[in-house]
Amino acid sequence: MTLVFHNLRKQYGSHVAIDDVSTVFQPGLIHGIIGPNGAGKSTLINMTAGSYLVSGGRISLDDRTLSGLKKYQIANSGVARTYQNIRLFDQMTVLENLEVCFYPTQVGQVWREILWPPFAAKRRINRRDVCMELLSFFGLQHYADAEAGSLPYGRQRMLEIARALVTNPRVLLLDEPAAGLNHHETTELTARLAELKSPDRIMIVVEHDMDLVMSVCDRIVVMHHGKLLFQGTPAEVQASSDVQLAYLGTANDIDDIKTAAKDRRAQLGIRARRRT
């Protein structure tokens, strides 16, 4: 099971956002995608999840071509995602935010659920059990009946990841999961991500927090101006002069990269917090 980008390309008019990116994502690993602002990291996530159309090339999961499918079809092929700006179902409860993910598998027998109360009760308990377990994993079990929109920002981030996991996806795409989180929350997130690693799951994290990326990722893809600049292990990335050049314009050590990334993260955090 692999997720493959074949000569992927995304173009807006004459502007090329993603230029001929080819790479392979393996299960059992956490893949990081990093790069300066506007490098095309989120674009890659959005194309994989079907939020953006692919201008050229192909995305495939196993033997199945994902690019060109509708967004919900891609989701039902086992690709789940979170968003750079949190997108929960704000007025639904925390529990309902997760329960609704059963729609694709359960809608087929919805008539039975409506007309036959015992069946509905069984389903409700079933859904609840699965979702409560996930909520407990993220420390959200006490918020189950609260409105999702009323949660503190950090909890909303966690809830969004929990929602992506309900269907036990084969591919998990996380778009800046640490944006706007404080130090304590980031530590918690890092621990959860490491625990989520599974031989049946491809995890891809777009992130500006270098500490998180370097500690949790097994492989890192570095994007620059829409091109794939470098890929390798965290150690290889830190040692690469190309990467340093891309981030700072001059060859510098990794600490400066971290500082630059932190500034960006602080900006994002301010923006993200303002939303709530």
Partner: protein, 331 residues
């Protein structure tokens, strides 16, 4: 800790009392109404039909979050289905229940036909298109003289009858409506609680994120349109059978607006709210009959006050039927 416990207990006891009070009042009203003079029963019948319409439209507006201003079209479709199949117009006299089934099917199909072109629209654009759809249906009915009798309408419709029992007097129609309203309310409530209802809520909250978790929003929305239209159409059949006369005047734009107002004022997305909203908007004008032209002004003022004081409606979304039941059994 103990003070917390007592406060919870007290709140629960309060909830129980409130639930009991609401249910007792409702049961009393339902039982007493048919013994009142015919005028009151007729008003109650009107109210029940509007409750039915409100429950139907609420699926699209309250659950799926799609502002539909042309709902009256489905009401008209149902009413005219009955008028054409049970009147001297074409000398067809099909049984009432058969017509209900036919009207439900025709309603569902019309709902899907309206739903298909507006799938990509939301908010204001959707409102304008559905508003246009409502008007189109009314104008078509007004002009298709050979079929619908045009502005004159169709008169001398058959009396409704089920299994040989005639349903024509106001009290008979009343009991028919009570049964239908309860059946539809329970059905729709169960729908809201089902996985489909949750998908509607997700679409309402964030359509794109709903697609992102694998919801085929096209199908879910069409299901909402179809169910809602079916209920509107059934309401139309009962309306036609109780009036035994239909004309395009009954299906003007203001009817659609009235139903939307019922939902917004009573409590959007909540069946109990619709009952309250309908009661206010249908009963108040009757009560205020003596003040003739002043009553519209009064209603307008009331609406402004309500929208300011309770922008989410009189009954909040969270106070649904399950709250009432849970309150009753103290759980």
């Amino acid at each position: 800790m103990s003070s917390v416990d007592t406060s919870v207990q007290m709140r629960m006891r309060g909830g129980r009392l409130l639930s009991l009070l609401i249910l007792a009042t409702a049961v009393a009203l339902i039982i007493v109404t048919p013994f009142l003079p015919n005028y009151y029963v007729r008003v109650a019948n009107g109210l029940l039909i509007y409750i039915l319409l409100g429950i139907g439209l609420n699926i699209v507006i309250g659950y799926a979050g799609l502002l539909d201003l042309g709902f009256v079209a489905f009401y008209a479709v149902g009413a005219y289905t009955y008028a054409l199949l049970a009147s001297p117009q074409f000398d067809l006299h099909l049984p009432f229940l058969l017509i209900v089934v036919i009207a439900a099917a025709v309603g569902a199909i019309t709902g899907i036909l309206l739903g298909l072109p507006v799938l990509k629209m939301r908010g204001d654009y959707l409102a304008i298109v559905t508003l246009g759809f409502g008007e189109i249906i009314r104008i078509v009915i007004n002009n298709l003289d050979w079929l619908t009798g045009g502005p004159k309408g169709i008169a001398r419709l058959d009396k409704a009858s089920i299994a040989g029992i005639e349903l024509a007097r106001p009290t008979e129609i009343y009991w028919l409506l009570i049964v239908v309203v309860f059946a539809v309310a329970i059905f729709v409530w169960r729908m809201e609680k089902s996985i489909l209802g949750k998908a509607w809520a997700a679409i309402r909250e964030d359509q794109d994120a709903a697609r992102g978790i694998g919801i085929n929003t096209t199908n879910a929305k069409l299901a909402a349109f179809a169910t809602s239209a079916t209920i509107g159409s059934i309401a139309g059949v009962i309306f036609a059978a109780s009036q035994r006369f239909v004309s395009p005047d009954s299906f003007a734009l203001q009817e659609s607006v009235l139903i939307v107002l019922m939902i917004v004022i009573g409590g959007i997305g909540n069946i109990l709210g619709i009952v309250i909203g309908a009661a206010i908007l249908i009963l108040l004008p009757e009560v205020l009959r003596e003040f003739a032209e002043w009553r519209i002004l009064f209603l307008g003022l009331l609406m402004i006050v309500l929208i300011i004081v309770r922008p989410a409606g009189i009954v909040p979304r969270t106070f649904g039927p399950e709250k009432l039941i849970r309150g009753l059994f103290g759980k």
